[in-house]
């Protein structure tokens, strides 16, 4: 009885404290999301773009037949699929080094997390100076006897965007890994040492295993942040960048500009579906991992 009463009390207080957040959250995130999903199943009305009749999966079929959507979706997919493992690998390696006693440790850590707070717009200039047709990199190439590369208008553009993504995200992941490493009890390594375990064995059986929860979080954040790379490409190359860096967000923005609500909402719903599946797969694996640990 007592417990039940306490629960109810908490419920009322919770509602009161949560109300401001809940109202705003519903209004600006939840309801728009629901409306968006509904729109994705509707056709365009005669007079305008909104509120037509239900058309089932018609919009999705149209969307999947659109070559610019497929291009944008595959670009986004490949960008994420390549750069997320890359950023995690590099930041884990750095964290492993920095976990030992290293000189200038604080300076190094500060330098690596600085990019988190440097606004993209303020480094656009440097980017142009480096990667323009007559930019510094090309000047070096020509001096070395190679021919110029049109960095932002060739397949290289994806590599250039990757560099910026890595620059911005390595430090963030690195300090999360560092915290994860600090939480692994030292005795585990000592016991392994006594049993004569090799370095690689210790890394695989202790470090990686105990780092798994951290790894999930880093993975999730890296994926979210890989979607944010749109900002960079937009500021550098505008609405219609070179084909290779035309991301799903460019597509959605351009659908918005041309008032093609059907394709936009269908694309958005598909993207949400992918993110949801990813999240649930992560949670499922994590739960299995926890059971394995205990």
């Amino acid at each position: 009885m007592n417990i039940r009463k306490r629960l109810n009390n908490d419920g009322r207080v919770a509602a009161f404290f949560l109300l401001p957040s809940l109202i705003g959250f519903s209004l600006f995130y939840l309801i728009p999301f629901v409306i968006g999903t509904i729109y994705s199943f509707k056709g365009g009305a005669v007079g305008g773009s909104f509120g037509g009749s239900f058309v089932g999966f018609f919009n999705y079929k149209e969307l999947l037949a659109s070559s610019s959507f497929l291009k944008a979706a595959s670009n986004t997919f490949w960008f994420t699929a390549i750069n997320v493992p890359l950023v995690i690998g590099i930041s884990l390696l750095l964290a492993l080094y920095l976990h030992q006693t290293v000189l200038f440790k604080n300076v190094i850590i500060s330098s690596f997390i600085l990019p988190i707070v440097v606004p993209v717009a303020s480094i656009v200039m440097l980017w142009q100076i480096l990667f323009d047709w007559n930019g510094t990199l090309n000047s070096w190439l020509v001096n070395l006897g190679f021919s110029q590369i049109d960095w932002m208008k060739s397949d290289w553009s994806i590599a250039v965007v990757s560099v910026v993504y890595l620059w911005k995200n390595i430090g963030y992941n690195m300090i999360i890994f560092l915290a994860g490493l600090q939480n692994i009890p030292k005795d585990y390594y000592e016991i392994a040492d006594m049993e004569g375990a090799g370095r690689f064995f210790k890394f695989r059986q202790i470090t990686l295993v105990y780092l798994t929860p951290t790894m999930f979080f880093v993975l999730l954040m890296s994926i979210i942040n890989s979607f944010k790379v749109f900002r960079e490409t937009y500021l550098i190359a505008g609405d219609y960048p070179f084909d290779r860096i035309y991301m799903i967000q460019h597509y959605m923005n351009n659908m918005f500009a041309s008032l093609n609500v059907q394709k936009l909402t269908a694309a958005a719903s598909l993207m949400v579906l992918c993110i949801l599946m990813l999240v649930f797969v992560f949670f499922a694996i994590e739960r299995r991992y926890r059971r394995f640990m205990s």
Binding site: P20, S21, P32, Y39, N134, I176, F217, N253, M271, I275
Partner: protein, 299 residues
């Protein structure tokens, strides 16, 4: 043997310092170049547009990265503050866009601190039915790119009469889920016994929140301020959609216009743009690291 490990250690340190230097290079480069004259800038880095794009290398027209100004000058900074340099609104100086950014970002940070810390207390320490499901919903929306809810957001902003006003950007910002997520992690580190003890002393939930929770999550609040500042000071998507009137643009969007029009003052503008971020970073670095690390910790 010992000598070998010592050498390895130095090679490693050198390598790490080199990478660290690459990380800070964009900032150092922008700072040093902001003290060049406009003339020197256009000499060093000719814009692509003026040059014919053929397959012959025009050696004389290549840009060359220069770290040190020939002549130290404040010319760019003066020009930035000069009224006639503004491209969008001839009546206003460039500072107007600085003001736009401030007017949008500060209310978002203040609002989200209040709203999110209240919600974080609920999600972190109070028990009620459906709590975890609701939190999962918050989490999932946090993961979604802005474009996903573009259309309905636009319609709602329109209904509320917020279009083309700062409100269209401020309100969604205030209710963003990131602050709730992050502060919850901090709230969860507070032992239940603190709250139980306060309850026994007859404290209300509100006074528990004000006197126990808020002071204990202060590092989290500091970290949140920095991360929100970094995110919204840098926003691109939202103003692009919600603001029709270019004179309302924040500095983040306007800066790319400056760079497009005249590279000459771009560096000074960039430095002025990132200055508040760098200052806050300098003062709250410790909390920022702690905040990011704790947000990655599992409960």
């Amino acid at each position: 043997m010992k000598r070998n490990t010592l050498i390895r250690k130095w090679v490693l340190t050198f390598f790490l310092l080199l990478m660290a230097a690459m990380m800070v290079f964009p900032v150092v480069f922008t700072l040093s170049n902001s003290f060049m004259t406009e003339n020197e800038i256009s000499q060093n880095y000719p814009s692509d547009r003026e040059i014919q794009q053929d397959n012959i290398a025009h050696k004389e027209s290549f840009g060359h990265l220069k770290l040190f100004p020939e002549k130290f000058s404040f010319e760019q900074y003066k020009a930035f503050f000069d009224k006639k340099q503004s491209f969008i609104d001839k009546e206003q100086s460039n500072m107007k866009f600085y003001g736009n950014s401030v007017l949008m970002v500060f209310p978002i940070i203040l609002g989200q601190l209040i709203v999110a810390s209240l919600a974080a207390y609920v999600f972190g320490k109070l028990k009620f039915k459906g709590r975890d499901t609701l939190f999962l919903v918050y989490m999932v929306t946090m993961l979604m790119p802005f474009q996903v809810t573009l259309v309905p957001n636009y319609l709602i902003a329109d209904k509320l009469g917020l279009l083309n006003s700062f409100g269209a950007i401020i309100f969604p910002g205030v209710f963003g889920a990131f602050g709730v997520f992050m502060l919850r992690q901090f709230v969860m580190t507070i032992p239940y016994s603190y709250i139980e003890a306060a309850k026994i002393d007859g404290a209300s939930h509100f006074s528990i929140f004000m006197k126990i929770i808020l002071p204990l999550i202060r590092p989290g609040l500091a970290a949140l301020v920095v991360l929100l500042f970094a995110d919204y000071w840098n926003m691109v998507e939202q103003p692009l959609i919600f603001l029709d009137d270019p004179s309302k643009f924040p500095l983040s969007l306007y800066l790319s216009q400056i760079i497009e029009e005249t590279r000459g003052i771009g560096f000074a503008a960039s430095i002025l743009y990132m200055a508040p971020m760098l200052l806050i970073f300098g003062f709250t670095k410790k909390y920022l690291i702690k905040g990011i690390q704790l947000s990655g910790a599992k409960d």
